[in-house]
Amino acid sequence: MSGITGSNAGVTAHALRRELHASRAVPSVITGILVAAACILLFLEAVLKAVGDPPFLIDLDAVAAALGRLPGLVPASVLVPAGLLVFILGLVLALAAVLPGRRARFAVPNARAAVVVDSEILAATLARRARLAAGVGPEQVLVTVGRRRVEVSVRPTSGIPVDAEAVRQAVEEDLRGTVAGPFPTVQVTIAPSGVIGQ
């Protein structure tokens, strides 16, 4: 490959890490819009105060005075739920910032590019593999893909037993051939009652 410029192993790893974690753009945009709107309103009110005009929506002087007397002014039955609501709102924002924010995606090993696959797509292909291994129809297999665990539930056709271990091995082989580690563990459940085959 002489004559081809550019080496980007570090950039690829960085792109992969960004793609597997949430950017928090949505909570940031919502928070930014609300805070900006509040600041613009307060700016307007402060300018009106400075030039001596009557207030537009809120009288800053009166609001500040009321805020100081809040515990006596508002009954506890209103102030406590309101305080808790504000607290929970803050908790949601703080958790969005602090939690790792992993997306439901997996990295796929590849020599040339950073590759990620959505869990939904992975579940569909594992379901297909489990269906072939169990010898049942597409409607008889349900696969749920989590970060730690892949759950495969099979409803066998009446009278035809399904080998859970064989299904587990097939699904695990497919999983290991597709995504990069750490691998989730594969758990196969065979429903106790069969259905009429499709």
Partner: protein, 200 residues
Amino acid sequence: MNSTPRALNRILLALFGLVLMATGAAAAAAALIPEAARTWRAVSSSAAAGIRSLGVRGGEDWLWVLLALVFLLLATLMIIWLAVQGRGRTGDFIQDRGQEPGEAAGTVTITAAAAEQALKVALQDRRDLVNAAVTTWRFRGTSALRIRVYPRQGAAPARVAEEVAGLVEALDLVLGHRAPVLISISAGARARFTHADRVS
């Protein structure tokens, strides 16, 4: 692949979250505990006294102007924060200035559309993909390609990844440049509702 400032997002969200948590907890405590209510009133009255003494010294209008400027600055910062989310699309794929000795002076530019169209056309014919989108982003000082493919239900992601990477390698050979590439195998709404290809 965009240049959303993720660390800044986390810091500001944590900051606003903590402020809201403290405010809410203080309000609830002031309503429930008499001691906390007394502290609340004491703090607010001393703050009011401090502001009043400032106002006496410089005139009250001056304080309102200062407050207005602070809010204007905050609003501007918030709008800047909003504006930097999700940016980073670029129209240039390669820009080579040819600075090496013996080369003619000048710039060679390959637009992003060239690389994007080449890959899109190559991906269009594949029967195991419902759709594909190729975009170019300015990422860590270079132009990087993001290839988003929406496979049909049941298409093996490992094989899709390998074959798309093969197309990228062919593009490398044509352009003589290895750009960073992200291949994202996504579940779009359309892929979800189309049937699995039974023949393959």
